[in-house]
Amino acid sequence: MPSPNSRGTSSPIALIPASPTASLFRKKSPSAMSTAASYLSAVSQADARARKLTDADSTTSTPALSLSSSVTSSSADTILNETSFHANDDGLSYPKVPPTSEQVFQTVHSEFGHCGNGSFRFNSGHQKGEPLKGVEEQEPPHFVLLTTYLSYLLLIILGHIRDFVGKRIRPAAYKHLMNQDGYMALNSDFDSFYTRRLKMRIDDCFSQPTTGVPGRTILLLDRSSPDYNLTYVPTGTRTRALNVSSYNYLGFAQGSGGCADAVEESINKYGVAACGTRLEAGSLDLHVQTEALVARFIGMEDSLISSMGFATNSTIIPALVSKGCLVISDELNHASIRFGVRLSGANVRMFKHNNMEALEQLLREVISQGQPKTHRPWKKILLIVEGLYSMEGTLVNLPVILELKKKYKFYVFIDEAHSVGALGPHGRGICDYFDINPRSVDILMGTFTKSFGAAGGYIAGNKNIIDRLRVSGHTGTYTEVMTPPVLTQIMASMASIMGVAVPQDNKSVVPAHVLAYPGPAPSTALPTWMPLVPAMIDGSDGKMRLRRLAFNARYLNRALRRLGFITFGHDDSPVVPLLLFNPGKMPVFARLMRTRATPIVVVIVAYPATSLITSRVRFCLSASHTKEDIDTLLTACDEIGDLLDLKQAIGERWPLKEIMDRAVEIVNMKEMP
């Protein structure tokens, strides 16, 4: 079994030239577009405050080089590539507090944060029998609502004025929006109005190019726009920022460590591609092994994998339902589900997000009415919900749905794209979280992008269903297979979460009760060549990740509310939406975050992904974040929240210092009053 250090030379490829100057004082990149003088002064104020705070905190920090014992040799590349070699005031590349001699961390701090404090852990799980309580969705004050609507009105009016004037002064710039030469415009000015006149203003907050591992921190390739976000020019500099945007719930986005070693081994053995489709000679033994392991992980009889998460829904749903069937869909379901349902030709009815009364009422209506016009009974009814809603942070009320299922005999399809790995004491997703037998659900779908640091998706269910999907789904016949490195990453990360049951001697078999759901993976289920580090075999690595994520999620959710922000979702959700409401606050929030002394990248979301008024910023937490990272984020939110007047929630508020000091207490509270 090769040790993690036994890999060969790995010089980093320099696709983008590194920053030419490693200046002693960190230069702020002027990447953000300043729109007003007030915004500029706000930036400098927030910056100055943040600097003061970091300076005070970092008095105990030691020079970077003395920490080399705390990182593995593989991190040398990362250190040398670091643009701000001398400056560690942001705590992103090295921990602010050096580890003690007993603490040995195997990870690179910028990918997976060092956290030795055992009290910053929590077990995710729902108390059986208790009703599922989400955060009460608070309405903002009427003033905020009014200004939000007015903002949109203003933006739309200004946009139309600009279009009107622009078309007359610079017709060349509008040429592609006009019919010309007998061709209709590909994109009319009316259709693209929202994109051109509203999104374009804040476009610098989207599609930021990055490089390196999208782990705990992320390296941004700075850019500037000479023409108000129409085009971008790379400035050549890079900024390392705290990453609360990538889907990396369990922190498996790593360029080093057990999973990466396994993937390297697989590239040496299998190469990069598998060529072809599953049914046309593209099947590898790795596919078969991965499907078996995924089924065991999920707790289902069998599973089917697909090389793209989006396509898992869009190509499988048409094989499950067809004309004469009904799909009942939560109104906030993901685009891929809608895409798949539209292709299937089945009827669709939607119910209010997570509202079980509305669902039951709808069920009673559709079953009693039957198909439209003919009133024939439905062939079957499929309820499609998500385990964890990625824009809301809400959990599906699974216990109630299963109660309803008994009575109304519909089938349940749960999209666990965000919940698998991220929820439950064993990381097995929403069923594990509620301590429900996964086989009481008909179909569990999920993706490997979010929690496993891989790509693609799976469908798990009974063997006869999965076999049917293998034959009738579009995946097996038409789509390219998943590539070997991705398969290996999935198997290694899953084994890491599950732990591996190695028989005592070669002859004996691991007893079935040890392997029962949610137990460890039998070593026979993994390829023999796969290197496994001890922390993966005993499951301690996976356990640590699960518990750190659960702590982080609960801490941030509750702390933000204690600070007075309006948030959505459930306390245990690693997706935390913070409501901004006013469209103008979105770019300012993102730019202020990005230009802080410790830069933070965030995702801002607005219409049409949300309703018009509930523009929000969304944090995606990870097991790789340390408590200090959450504190950094909270400090930033606190300051910017004051600046932008975001603390609109009613209820008890604590000062930031108190929240940070009593973090463990906050997390362990059964229910936060």
């Binding site: 890999r7 060969g8 980093p12 490829i13 590349d77 019919n179 030469d181 209709m184 590909l186 994109n187 994109t195 989207f206 599609s207 190019p209 990055t210 490089t211 591992v213 999208p214 945007s245 990538s246 986005a253 360029g255 990466a260 390297e264 040496n268 299998y270 190469g271 591609a273 060529c275 599953r278 046309e280 000679a281 099947s283 590898l284 793209m308 998460g309 989006f310 869009s314 109104e331 119910f351 709808l362 009673r364 079953i367 009693s368 439209p372 009133h375 079957k380 089938y411 992008t449 640091g453 790509a455 049917r468 579009h474 097996g476 038409y478 390219e480 590539t483 490195p485 991705v486 995702v603």
Partner: protein
Amino acid sequence: MSTTTAALEPVFTFLSYSYATLETSFYKIPGSHVIARYVRSSHQNDPGRTVLEIMLFIFAVRTLLQSRTRADHSGKHFIKFDEKEINDLVEEWSPEPLAADLTPHEQAELAAVPVISGPTGPKPKLITGKTVLNLASYNFTGLAGNETINEKAVEVLRKYGLGSCGPPGFYGTQDVHIQLEKDIADFLGTESAILYAQAFSTIPSVISAFSKRGDIIVADRGVNFAIQKGLQISRSTIRWYDHNDLHSLEQVLESVERERRKKNLPLTRRFIITEGIFDHDGLISDLPKLVELKNKYKYRLVLDESISFGSVGRTGRGLTELFNVPATQVDMLVGSVATGLASGGGFCAGTCHVVNHQRINGTSFVFSAAMPAMLAVAGSEGINILRNTPSILTTLHENVRAIRAILDKVDAITIPSHPASATIHLHARIPSPTHLSPNAPPSPSLSSSGKLSNPLSVIPRDPPYYDYDLEEKLLQDVVDECLAQGVMVTRSKTLRKQELAEVRPSIRLAVTAALSRKDCEKAANVIKAACTKIIGKRR
């Protein structure tokens, strides 16, 4: 009488006073004058107009208040039941099983799928322990298992990890993705290109990003399943032309134009959608003629080069290189990084406007995680290799010629595929009473009978007759026989009930440059023997 008036006097005074107060306070509200003027001008001394305005206002408010998810009780088909009746109906209803069990035929088909143990390549080992010659996997240029690519992949793994952990809009765009997009655009000679995470999901997304309800798509009757799904999801008006028959295309274009003039319809977006090399039978589109027609009738051309990119042309640039047509003449050029460059994902190349539009409107681009960095770099490296080693494509085409030289002479099969195509489809040739000329390729020649097919229907006028089940079974037997003789080939799998038009069963060979000419000839002879033995016996 006067007493009543007198008694009511204070009431009138009060009324007129309160009216005056209301009016003044109303005019104090900013903007109220505008409303008053609007009401006055719309009234125009005609109460009917005011009533109409009020009704419109109420209707607008009602529409706004109606919830999207509200249950529809208002339709005339709604039957009112009481609670007990509903309970009974719920009790009574029994759904079909979620998925039908596999038939023995399907079970056998699933069991017959070969599984490779270890890496794929020209001579993979199967889990049965047998090492076979591989003419089934899409590995035209032999890039799978390339050492340089593998080394690069390991470097990228150490620098980027594996997954991209986010959609392109939310920090999932990495420099390597931008690099591959640039490489593809440079390689093909287009302004720009956009990467999708899966080849199959690329074209449905491209089609639905541009073509909406009311737009017109003229498509080939033989287009692949992915395009069919794109057409379905776009909800556009679709006209079909006969498979790879550009006369038929011209007639359809002409008829659409005639219809537009006759009904005086407004201008809509119009697209011609077809494939470079057809997935279903390996025919090659006549690109220069296509470009001529699309320019003449002012259509935009969407060309699916999923098979042709990386398999034809001097350096594998695809159909545009083969016919020496600038790629800028194709408005949306869709290709597969997975098939063409032995990596993963797909792309769409075109002008900056075409590409940028997809970055916001391409469903499977926006809502899906970006492809792993490693696969993007493998793609870039693949392009590098193709650019610098034109001999790969020469070898590939020599192999194609060698195999065709042997298989073209086999009596038991017909080959519809174009001689230059690296995918070769074999149809079983069984004499049948209704199909008098079994030599003819399935559909293209049929429209020459003089009468036109109905452009509204995907089924051509005289659909070719063949015994689907029998041919499928014979071909599967050939596949099994070849495998027993050490050559892996596969039937071209299609979803029979889900494809718009039935696709004739075929064996699909994917020739690779990684095999030597001798191995190719050996494999072709094995296939020849199997075909003669199994199909020939039937004849």
